[in-house]
Symmetry: C2
Subunit: 622 residues, 2 copies
């Protein structure tokens, strides 16, 4: 098999690769990140790269759907389609590069009762002698039993190895870190209150870690990163497909999240002058697929009816069994899964938001590639999941991107002139206030703003159709049909106009219709006429203009004062479970309490969905 | 640092080694086994090798004590003293080569009630559907709870990973292997009764594995090997010293026993057409030091007063945490330790022999480098440990060797002529019956036979002194004093006369005196005048002539009909614990019940010991 060298610009990363492998394979091998939503099956068109030098396999038909004639002459190709047939130099355009997420570093400042799974116990043991040569562990165990009424304690193997030296180093005074009054995880000489834990939220797109002091509950640091699995496909289904289509696919997906987390852990502890071994407890939330891939459980049965997960209940396993580099005896607690794709992340949202503690009827929407919905109050909780598609996360949108630096996150349209003003993530000023603002693309909240403004100003009809008769200079016909220019070429850093196309609007309509129809069916099932509160969760939820979301019909009408965007509630739930073990019991309880409504089994779903496609919807239409 | 090549003959193994390292280091690195009792501190003289080509560092004084002038001219050196200073070719003489142990492959054919820790449960689960999408594990757990009343089951992580595919492969009929009604260790599609376990006896010198079918209790195979730690020192103290003197000493000792066991496991399962993954349960016995080194627990505190072990009670850990290559979810159960060096091996002996189930007063002697003694009956059990020295195992004896092929194991002396006849391990006939019998050395039981015969025939006085006036042609004076020839040069495979020296007799006297004095003190402490039964355990115990052992005073007088040699009772105890979980509880109980008598703390020990040095002893003397 011939080998060729591929060099990527602007990173100058090199890799040697076998003839016939694709540029996407080469990028993955060399650690160059190229956006790929479809997971390499040639239909998302996001992995465009430019050949600078050398030769690639001939252009194929699938590529022509995403690559314009102009791009073709410039040497653009789809990285997933173009095969290596010789040495090559490849440029990865800025728009296709994945960059570090700029997630908010704060979590809603709730008071979480401190009751961690691990507590330190200080003991002073009688010294061994020829008349009392009791073994070290037996001596410790007896003392803990007498002094703290901790009976039948076990000791984890690595802690047993440390025990003899730790006891003698502290002259038989020591601190035992004990998990759930059951298992000794660590022994330190003398008195020590050095106990830390990490809560992890594994999102499909981004991963966030929260480092906490388990002795006082303090949040020491938050660290986020892109989920490194993104290179194997942007959404859950494409990752499941990747794991099924490649013999080592599951292993690769698993290793990539574990390695990524080990890197995140290293960074977050170093920032606090701690070491990874200081982390003695870990909690994890994530949707069902992220949960399975993190554990290396084959996710294939999640992808086919009846969408059965390997496990619903919470599980606790040793970090060392996962290869997670924290304290060798640390336990990893994964919150329970509700049903189907309604995963541990949603349970996290529920223990953070506690809709079951209220009389008011709450609707919680966690918007991602899958929308997860919970409706209910203290009497009843109903959950469901609907395929919103990735449009709200900026994918399947022509100039869509994630909510990172350079993304248009807010849009205003002048009712008179239809002129557009926008705000870009990373800039404090609007475009109209600063000439230096440059956009790279548009993220979910920007798209919602844009669609809502265009609809409210009559550029988009109720049906979602862009109105041809609008003579605005920004409305034009391209090869793909009508489109509306949000940012002119000069206002961007990509050298092209950023537009919203008719297709983009359709994708938003499908996504919001799924959420709306889901909510309506749940209300019907619960006999609820009106919702008292709406909670928008997810990183999406912290950027969104709640009013505009309601105006285009993302969710049923509600008093706007009671619509809250709460940010990453799933991650907050993981932190709550880390700091308060009672909430783990609560998580188990609530996960079992929630009734799951499989929307695709509901007779009315199709009807409700179709009625919800229009703006704001046909139900609420005057 | 210069590197040189060392070639060992007759194995032709090669190794490259740094200047200044010893031949013993080179042998360890290349896997060549050289006997070394003292662990490389230049005082046992057992590691003699011959330089064939090349140069070594100059001979040092310590070597001259073990190397005769003749050997010096032939190029003999101590491997632990001679340093590499250039390429060299080294001959390892037959007498110094460690060979595979020829342990007996049968275990006393007792009926052990079958009640293993792991049982198979067959279930047929309802198929998941959109109306019942319960997770796989939850589904299994619910079913096991309903059908078998197994509540709150856990599943081990590797079993969880297998679960989704195993369930579907068997159309949701499966067999769960469950440990102690607590933890699911394995899932197999359909019905399966494929359950195996391994009992391991880690002796200081030899290691034995017993492969059992856990479904019917059948012993499928027995496999023994030399404890690979022997190259780091032959006795427990020299291994402890090795682990303390070398930064990676503990790691090396631990790895060598684990690697050795993995090899043993491979061999034993292949012989039964099984795979290592079929072994789901493992039990282990061994003395306290072997127990600690197996677990990688620093043994340094075992070697100094008050000789405290890291743990007394039994422990159960995952085989994977030890690197033991069996089923990934297998648990390893180590029997409890009694006290000091009276370890899990002795507990194994106790559950095999059950002295606590009898009215008669039993004395159990497990003879090794440390003699372990238990005295008692259903009312009381007393244990103690005494340093017998390695003489009974053939070490510290001029022509001593372990009980392997070529070792003289039985000796007869003609009362008239004082002519000697002997029997060699590996031969069915005595020397007098076959001209082809050739001896390599003499093992423990042979030495006892020889000393007893010489004593009974007046060649050795009561004091232990060889009688000069005995004009037998076999009694002569060598450079080291008097010695008695057991085998003439022509009757050996080593080209030298095999003799028993005055010093050898002294070493036997010291060993048997320690055992005798220990037994006497225990009798005193218990107020026992006469012992009803004596049990001789250990591989030693299966070769020994019990009558002669009593005649030289290894243990107090007892009706000879009630003196039993039971072979490897410790290994049998491991097997009993493997096949019957109830015996594990029993082991814990008996280990706590046994009172430990620290002989060195007894006022009378020195007096009793000195009185016991003579043959048979001064106490029983007429």
């Amino acid at each position: 098999m011939k080998k060729f060298k591929v060099v990527f610009l602007p990173s100058h990363k090199e890799v040697e690769i076998s003839e016939g492998e694709t540029i996407l394979d080469a990028a993955r091998d060399s650690g160059v990140e190229i956006e790929s939503i479809c997971g390499g099956v040639k239909n998302c068109g996001k992995c465009k790269v430019k050949l600078l030098e050398g030769k690639l396999s001939p252009l194929i038909d699938e590529e022509l759907e995403s690559i314009s004639d102009e791009e073709k002459t410039e040497g653009y190709r789809l990285a997933c389609a173009a095969q290596v047939i010789g040495n090559a130099q490849i440029y990865v355009p800025e728009i296709g590069q994945i960059e570090k997420q700029g997630l908010k570093r704060t979590v809603a400042g709730k008071t979480i009762g401190l009751n961690p799974a691990i507590l330190p116990y200080v003991v002073e043991l009688p010294l061994p002698s020829l008349n009392d040569p009791t073994g070290d562990f037996d001596r410790l165990r007896n003392n803990l039993s007498e002094r703290y009424a901790l009976h039948s304690l076990n000791i984890d193997y690595p802690a047993l190895l440390k025990l003899p030296c730790a006891l003698r180093e502290g002259s038989f005074k020591c601190t035992a870190a004990i998990w759930m009054e059951k298992e000794i995880l660590d022994i330190k000489p003398g008195r020590s209150d050095h106990l830390y834990g990490l809560a992890i939220d594994i999102g499909t797109t981004s991963v966030v870690g929260y480092l906490c002091n388990l002795q006082n509950g303090e949040l020491l640091a938050t660290q986020s990163m892109m989920n490194p699995q993104v290179v194997y496909g942007e959404d859950v289904m494409s990752r499941i497909t990747y794991s099924m289509a490649h013999p080592d696919g599951l292993e690769k997906l698993h290793r990539s999240i574990i390695n990524g987390l080990n890197q995140l852990i290293k960074t977050i502890v170093e920032g606090c002058s701690l070491s990874p071994e200081d982390i003695l407890d870990v909690t994890v939330v994530g949707n069902t697929a992220m949960h399975h891939l993190f554990l290396k459980i084959d996710p294939q049965y999640l992808g086919v009816s009846p969408f059965t997960p390997a496990v619903h209940q919470s599980i606790t396993i040793k970090a060392r069994d996962l290869g997670l580099k924290v304290h060798p005896s640390a336990n990893v607690y994964l919150l329970p899964i509700e049903a189907g794709f309604v995963g541990a992340d949603n349970v996290g949202v529920l223990i953070a938001e506690e809709p079951d503690q209220r009389d008011e009827m709450s609707l919680i929407i966690d918007v991602g590639t899958n929308g997860e919905l919970v409706l209910g109050n203290r009497n009843r909780l109903l959950s469901s999941s609907c395929a919103t598609g990735p449009a709200f996360e900026g994918a399947h949108i022509k100039f869509g991107m994630r909510a990172t630096t350079g993304a248009i996150e807010r849009v205003r349209v002048d009712p008179q002139t239809l002129e557009v003003d926008f705000k870009v993530i990373g800039e404090t000023q609007w475009k109209s206030e600063s000439k230096s603002v440059r956009a790279r693309g548009i993220c979910g909240s920007g798209i919602i703003d844009a669609v809502a403004e265009l609809y409210l100003n009559g550029v988009i009809e109720k049906s979602g159709q862009l109105k041809k008769e609008q003579a605005a200079s920004r409305l034009r016909t391209s090869g793909e049909g009508l489109e509306f220019v949000i940012a002119w070429k000069e206002e961007t850093s990509i050298g092209r106009d950023i537009t919203i196309t008719q297709q983009d609007i359709r994708n938003i309509q499908l996504g919001k219709a799924a959420l709306y129809a889901g909510a309506r069916l749940m209300m019907k099932r619960c006999g609820v006429k009106k919702i008292d509160r709406v909670i928008l969760a997810g990183s999406f939820g912290s950027h969104i203009d709640t009013q505009k979301a309601m105006r285009i019909g993302m969710f049923p009408e509600c008093d706007l004062n009671n619509v809250l965007a709460v940010g990453n509630a799933a991650g907050e739930g993981a932190m709550i479970a880390l700091l308060n073990r009672e909430k783990r019991r609560k998580a188990e309880e609530i996960a079992r309490k929630v009734e799951y409504l499989e929307l695709t089994l509901e007779d009315d779903f199709q009807k409700e969905f179709i009625e919800a496609i229009a703006f704001p919807n046909l139900i609420g239409a005057p």
